[in-house]
Symmetry: C2
Subunit: 141 residues, 2 copies
Amino acid sequence: MEIEETIALLKSRGYRITPQRVAILRILKDNTNHPGVEDVFRSVIKIYPNISMATVYNVMEVLEREGIIKEIAVSNVSRRYDPDVNPHGHFICRVCEKVFDVSFSNMRSLGKYSPRELDEFVIESLELIYRGVCKDCKDKT
Amino acid sequence: MEIEETIALLKSRGYRITPQRVAILRILKDNTNHPGVEDVFRSVIKIYPNISMATVYNVMEVLEREGIIKEIAVSNVSRRYDPDVNPHGHFICRVCEKVFDVSFSNMRSLGKYSPRELDEFVIESLELIYRGVCKDCKDKT
DNA sequence: CTGTCTGCAAACCATTTGCAATCGT
DNA sequence: ACGATTGCAAATGGTTTGCAGACAG
Protein backbone atom coordinates (compact mmCIF):
# COMPACT_ATOMS: atom_id res chain seq x y z
CA MET A 1 0.00 0.00 0.00
CA GLU A 2 1.26 3.46 -0.89
CA ILE A 3 1.97 6.01 1.79
CA GLU A 4 -0.75 8.25 0.41
CA GLU A 5 -3.29 5.45 0.61
CA THR A 6 -2.28 4.62 4.15
CA ILE A 7 -2.64 8.24 5.13
CA ALA A 8 -6.08 8.38 3.54
CA LEU A 9 -7.04 5.22 5.42
CA LEU A 10 -5.93 6.63 8.74
CA LYS A 11 -7.68 9.90 8.06
CA SER A 12 -10.89 8.11 7.14
CA ARG A 13 -10.75 6.34 10.46
CA GLY A 14 -10.55 9.57 12.38
CA TYR A 15 -6.83 9.76 13.03
CA ARG A 16 -5.00 13.02 12.66
CA ILE A 17 -2.21 13.11 10.18
CA THR A 18 0.72 14.54 12.09
CA PRO A 19 4.14 14.98 10.53
CA GLN A 20 5.54 12.52 13.08
CA ARG A 21 3.12 9.85 11.90
CA VAL A 22 3.95 10.51 8.28
CA ALA A 23 7.66 10.35 9.02
CA ILE A 24 7.28 7.02 10.77
CA LEU A 25 5.17 5.67 7.94
CA ARG A 26 7.91 6.62 5.49
CA ILE A 27 10.53 4.95 7.65
CA LEU A 28 8.52 1.76 7.84
CA LYS A 29 7.59 1.69 4.18
CA ASP A 30 9.57 -1.06 2.48
CA ASN A 31 11.68 -1.53 5.58
CA THR A 32 12.69 -5.18 5.70
CA ASN A 33 14.76 -4.94 8.86
CA HIS A 34 11.93 -5.68 11.27
CA PRO A 35 12.81 -2.62 13.30
CA GLY A 36 12.10 -2.23 16.97
CA VAL A 37 10.78 0.92 18.58
CA GLU A 38 14.32 2.02 19.29
CA ASP A 39 15.29 1.61 15.64
CA VAL A 40 12.34 3.65 14.48
CA PHE A 41 13.14 6.28 17.08
CA ARG A 42 16.74 6.58 15.91
CA SER A 43 15.57 7.12 12.34
CA VAL A 44 12.82 9.57 13.04
CA ILE A 45 14.81 11.68 15.47
CA LYS A 46 17.03 12.73 12.57
CA ILE A 47 14.00 14.42 11.08
CA TYR A 48 12.25 15.51 14.27
CA PRO A 49 14.95 15.96 16.90
CA ASN A 50 12.35 16.62 19.58
CA ILE A 51 10.26 13.52 19.10
CA SER A 52 9.97 11.31 22.15
CA MET A 53 9.89 7.59 22.60
CA ALA A 54 6.37 7.92 23.94
CA THR A 55 5.24 9.29 20.61
CA VAL A 56 6.91 6.47 18.72
CA TYR A 57 5.21 3.94 20.96
CA ASN A 58 1.93 5.72 20.43
CA VAL A 59 2.27 5.77 16.65
CA MET A 60 3.36 2.14 16.46
CA GLU A 61 0.35 1.17 18.51
CA VAL A 62 -1.98 3.02 16.19
CA LEU A 63 -0.43 1.48 13.09
CA GLU A 64 -0.64 -1.96 14.60
CA ARG A 65 -4.23 -1.49 15.64
CA GLU A 66 -5.12 -0.44 12.13
CA GLY A 67 -3.35 -3.40 10.56
CA ILE A 68 -0.69 -1.35 8.83
CA ILE A 69 2.15 -3.09 10.59
CA LYS A 70 2.35 -6.30 12.54
CA GLU A 71 4.12 -7.02 15.78
CA ILE A 72 6.27 -10.09 15.66
CA ALA A 73 7.30 -12.23 18.59
CA VAL A 74 11.03 -11.80 18.28
CA SER A 75 11.61 -11.18 21.93
CA ASN A 76 13.80 -13.68 23.72
CA VAL A 77 12.31 -12.35 26.88
CA SER A 78 9.07 -14.23 26.78
CA ARG A 79 7.07 -15.06 29.79
CA ARG A 80 5.66 -18.48 29.38
CA TYR A 81 7.26 -21.88 29.48
CA ASP A 82 6.29 -25.25 28.12
CA PRO A 83 7.49 -28.48 29.71
CA ASP A 84 6.71 -30.19 26.43
CA VAL A 85 9.80 -29.65 24.31
CA ASN A 86 8.60 -31.62 21.32
CA PRO A 87 7.86 -29.45 18.31
CA HIS A 88 4.27 -28.30 18.41
CA GLY A 89 2.28 -25.14 17.91
CA HIS A 90 0.34 -22.89 20.21
CA PHE A 91 -2.93 -21.09 20.02
CA ILE A 92 -3.10 -17.98 22.17
CA CYS A 93 -6.51 -16.60 22.97
CA ARG A 94 -6.61 -12.84 22.81
CA VAL A 95 -9.49 -12.69 25.30
CA CYS A 96 -8.65 -15.10 28.11
CA GLU A 97 -4.93 -15.31 27.29
CA LYS A 98 -4.96 -19.07 27.69
CA VAL A 99 -2.44 -21.01 25.65
CA PHE A 100 -3.55 -24.18 23.88
CA ASP A 101 -1.27 -26.78 22.39
CA VAL A 102 -1.61 -27.62 18.73
CA SER A 103 0.12 -30.79 17.65
CA PHE A 104 2.06 -30.74 14.41
CA SER A 105 0.65 -34.07 13.33
CA ASN A 106 -2.85 -32.65 13.32
CA MET A 107 -1.81 -29.87 11.03
CA ARG A 108 -1.97 -30.45 7.37
CA SER A 109 1.70 -31.28 7.06
CA LEU A 110 4.20 -28.68 8.01
CA GLY A 111 6.54 -30.93 6.10
CA LYS A 112 10.10 -31.34 7.17
CA TYR A 113 9.90 -27.76 8.35
CA SER A 114 12.81 -26.60 6.27
CA PRO A 115 11.98 -24.07 3.59
CA ARG A 116 14.31 -23.75 0.64
CA GLU A 117 15.20 -20.19 1.66
CA LEU A 118 16.83 -21.46 4.82
CA ASP A 119 18.92 -24.12 3.10
CA GLU A 120 22.21 -22.86 4.45
CA PHE A 121 20.85 -21.80 7.83
CA VAL A 122 21.06 -23.84 10.98
CA ILE A 123 17.51 -24.32 12.22
CA GLU A 124 17.52 -25.05 15.93
CA SER A 125 13.88 -24.61 16.75
CA LEU A 126 10.54 -23.87 15.26
CA GLU A 127 7.62 -22.13 16.79
CA LEU A 128 4.16 -21.81 15.35
CA ILE A 129 1.74 -19.42 16.97
CA TYR A 130 -1.91 -18.97 16.19
CA ARG A 131 -3.67 -16.01 17.75
CA GLY A 132 -7.36 -15.39 17.93
CA VAL A 133 -10.32 -16.22 20.14
CA CYS A 134 -10.84 -19.65 21.67
CA LYS A 135 -14.14 -21.55 21.58
CA ASP A 136 -15.11 -20.71 25.16
CA CYS A 137 -14.56 -17.00 24.74
CA LYS A 138 -16.32 -17.01 21.40
CA ASP A 139 -19.35 -18.76 22.92
CA LYS A 140 -19.55 -16.24 25.73
CA THR A 141 -20.24 -13.44 23.28
CA MET B 1 10.75 -37.89 31.07
CA GLU B 2 10.35 -38.84 34.71
CA ILE B 3 11.39 -36.45 37.43
CA GLU B 4 14.04 -38.87 38.62
CA GLU B 5 15.52 -39.09 35.15
CA THR B 6 15.55 -35.34 34.81
CA ILE B 7 17.29 -35.03 38.14
CA ALA B 8 19.87 -37.59 37.09
CA LEU B 9 20.40 -35.69 33.86
CA LEU B 10 20.97 -32.43 35.67
CA LYS B 11 23.29 -34.07 38.14
CA SER B 12 25.29 -35.69 35.38
CA ARG B 13 25.77 -32.27 33.84
CA GLY B 14 27.21 -30.85 37.00
CA TYR B 15 24.17 -29.11 38.44
CA ARG B 16 23.39 -29.38 42.11
CA ILE B 17 20.07 -30.83 43.07
CA THR B 18 18.55 -28.31 45.43
CA PRO B 19 15.09 -28.76 46.91
CA GLN B 20 13.97 -25.60 45.12
CA ARG B 21 14.95 -27.10 41.78
CA VAL B 22 13.17 -30.34 42.55
CA ALA B 23 10.05 -28.47 43.63
CA ILE B 24 9.99 -26.47 40.42
CA LEU B 25 10.50 -29.61 38.38
CA ARG B 26 7.52 -31.19 40.06
CA ILE B 27 5.41 -28.13 39.42
CA LEU B 28 6.34 -28.13 35.77
CA LYS B 29 5.90 -31.86 35.27
CA ASP B 30 2.76 -32.47 33.24
CA ASN B 31 1.78 -28.83 33.59
CA THR B 32 -0.16 -27.90 30.48
CA ASN B 33 -0.90 -24.35 31.49
CA HIS B 34 2.22 -22.86 29.95
CA PRO B 35 3.02 -21.07 33.19
CA GLY B 36 4.98 -17.87 33.45
CA VAL B 37 7.67 -17.20 36.04
CA GLU B 38 5.08 -15.58 38.27
CA ASP B 39 2.86 -18.66 38.09
CA VAL B 40 5.71 -20.96 39.02
CA PHE B 41 6.66 -18.63 41.83
CA ARG B 42 3.15 -18.65 43.26
CA SER B 43 3.16 -22.45 43.29
CA VAL B 44 6.60 -22.96 44.72
CA ILE B 45 6.29 -20.34 47.43
CA LYS B 46 3.65 -22.53 49.08
CA ILE B 47 6.36 -25.10 49.65
CA TYR B 48 9.32 -22.79 50.17
CA PRO B 49 7.95 -19.53 51.55
CA ASN B 50 11.37 -17.90 51.40
CA ILE B 51 12.12 -18.59 47.78
CA SER B 52 12.76 -15.51 45.70
CA MET B 53 11.84 -14.60 42.18
CA ALA B 54 15.53 -14.47 41.36
CA THR B 55 15.83 -18.15 42.16
CA VAL B 56 12.84 -19.03 40.04
CA TYR B 57 14.36 -17.09 37.15
CA ASN B 58 17.65 -18.86 37.73
CA VAL B 59 16.07 -22.32 37.78
CA MET B 60 13.94 -21.67 34.71
CA GLU B 61 17.03 -20.54 32.87
CA VAL B 62 18.90 -23.71 33.77
CA LEU B 63 15.99 -25.91 32.73
CA GLU B 64 15.66 -24.09 29.46
CA ARG B 65 19.37 -24.27 28.75
CA GLU B 66 19.29 -28.01 29.35
CA GLY B 67 16.30 -28.54 27.09
CA ILE B 68 13.95 -29.61 29.84
CA ILE B 69 11.49 -26.83 29.18
CA LYS B 70 11.02 -24.48 26.29
CA GLU B 71 10.32 -20.79 26.28
CA ILE B 72 7.44 -19.81 24.09
CA ALA B 73 6.85 -16.43 22.55
CA VAL B 74 3.53 -15.65 24.13
CA SER B 75 4.37 -12.11 25.05
CA ASN B 76 2.21 -9.43 23.53
CA VAL B 77 4.94 -7.02 24.40
CA SER B 78 7.28 -7.84 21.59
CA ARG B 79 9.83 -5.51 20.26
CA ARG B 80 9.95 -5.80 16.52
CA TYR B 81 7.55 -4.76 13.85
CA ASP B 82 6.96 -5.85 10.31
CA PRO B 83 5.44 -3.54 7.74
CA ASP B 84 4.59 -6.62 5.72
CA VAL B 85 1.29 -7.81 7.16
CA ASN B 86 0.83 -10.68 4.77
CA PRO B 87 1.22 -14.06 6.43
CA HIS B 88 4.81 -15.16 6.35
CA GLY B 89 7.37 -16.68 8.66
CA HIS B 90 10.54 -15.38 10.26
CA PHE B 91 13.95 -16.76 10.90
CA ILE B 92 15.69 -15.21 13.89
CA CYS B 93 19.44 -15.62 14.15
CA ARG B 94 20.55 -16.33 17.68
CA VAL B 95 23.99 -14.82 16.98
CA CYS B 96 23.43 -11.57 15.08
CA GLU B 97 19.76 -11.27 16.04
CA LYS B 98 18.82 -10.38 12.48
CA VAL B 99 15.33 -11.31 11.38
CA PHE B 100 14.83 -12.86 7.96
CA ASP B 101 11.54 -13.25 6.16
CA VAL B 102 10.43 -16.69 5.12
CA SER B 103 7.61 -16.75 2.65
CA PHE B 104 4.83 -19.25 3.16
CA SER B 105 4.79 -20.20 -0.49
CA ASN B 106 8.36 -21.40 -0.24
CA MET B 107 7.51 -23.67 2.62
CA ARG B 108 6.36 -27.11 1.83
CA SER B 109 2.71 -26.30 2.26
CA LEU B 110 1.52 -25.00 5.56
CA GLY B 111 -1.86 -25.76 4.07
CA LYS B 112 -4.81 -23.61 4.83
CA TYR B 113 -3.29 -23.09 8.24
CA SER B 114 -6.22 -24.45 10.16
CA PRO B 115 -5.63 -27.62 12.16
CA ARG B 116 -8.59 -29.77 13.09
CA GLU B 117 -8.01 -29.02 16.80
CA LEU B 118 -8.85 -25.39 16.22
CA ASP B 119 -12.04 -26.04 14.27
CA GLU B 120 -14.20 -23.98 16.59
CA PHE B 121 -11.61 -21.34 17.30
CA VAL B 122 -11.38 -17.99 15.58
CA ILE B 123 -7.93 -17.77 14.07
CA GLU B 124 -6.96 -14.17 13.54
CA SER B 125 -3.30 -14.47 12.83
CA LEU B 126 -0.54 -16.97 12.41
CA GLU B 127 3.09 -16.62 13.20
CA LEU B 128 5.83 -19.03 12.32
CA ILE B 129 9.24 -18.54 13.87
CA TYR B 130 12.42 -20.39 13.10
CA ARG B 131 15.35 -19.84 15.41
CA GLY B 132 18.94 -20.81 14.81
CA VAL B 133 22.07 -19.47 13.16
CA CYS B 134 22.02 -17.70 9.82
CA LYS B 135 24.40 -18.46 6.99
CA ASP B 136 26.68 -15.48 7.61
CA CYS B 137 27.14 -16.24 11.28
CA LYS B 138 27.65 -19.92 10.56
CA ASP B 139 30.37 -19.11 8.01
CA LYS B 140 32.19 -16.85 10.45
CA THR B 141 32.83 -19.75 12.79
C1' DC C 1 -12.02 26.51 18.28
C1' DT C 2 -12.01 21.65 19.93
C1' DG C 3 -10.29 17.59 20.97
C1' DT C 4 -6.38 14.86 19.56
C1' DC C 5 -1.57 14.33 19.70
C1' DT C 6 3.05 15.45 21.24
C1' DG C 7 6.91 15.63 24.37
C1' DC C 8 8.56 15.68 28.85
C1' DA C 9 9.27 13.55 33.16
C1' DA C 10 7.96 10.34 36.37
C1' DA C 11 6.08 5.84 37.29
C1' DC C 12 5.96 0.99 36.44
C1' DC C 13 7.27 -3.56 36.58
C1' DA C 14 9.36 -7.67 34.84
C1' DT C 15 13.92 -9.11 34.73
C1' DT C 16 18.82 -8.85 36.01
C1' DT C 17 22.69 -8.11 38.94
C1' DG C 18 25.81 -8.03 43.11
C1' DC C 19 26.89 -10.13 47.03
C1' DA C 20 26.99 -12.40 51.57
C1' DA C 21 25.22 -16.45 53.63
C1' DT C 22 23.89 -21.14 52.85
C1' DC C 23 23.96 -25.71 51.31
C1' DG C 24 24.99 -29.78 48.09
C1' DT C 25 28.55 -32.78 47.02
C1' DA D 1 35.95 -27.63 52.62
C1' DC D 2 34.83 -25.70 48.16
C1' DG D 3 32.23 -23.78 44.95
C1' DA D 4 27.54 -23.55 43.25
C1' DT D 5 23.19 -21.76 44.58
C1' DT D 6 20.03 -19.13 47.22
C1' DG D 7 17.66 -14.95 48.78
C1' DC D 8 17.72 -10.27 49.53
C1' DA D 9 17.94 -5.69 47.89
C1' DA D 10 19.19 -2.57 44.54
C1' DA D 11 19.74 -1.59 39.68
C1' DT D 12 18.20 -1.85 35.02
C1' DG D 13 15.72 -0.79 31.03
C1' DG D 14 11.94 -1.17 28.07
C1' DT D 15 7.23 0.38 28.23
C1' DT D 16 3.43 3.09 30.12
C1' DT D 17 1.23 6.99 32.20
C1' DG D 18 -0.13 11.86 33.40
C1' DC D 19 -0.45 16.10 31.97
C1' DA D 20 0.32 20.83 29.99
C1' DG D 21 1.03 22.87 25.73
C1' DA D 22 0.88 22.42 20.61
C1' DC D 23 -1.46 21.63 16.55
C1' DA D 24 -4.60 19.23 12.90
C1' DG D 25 -9.00 19.58 11.22
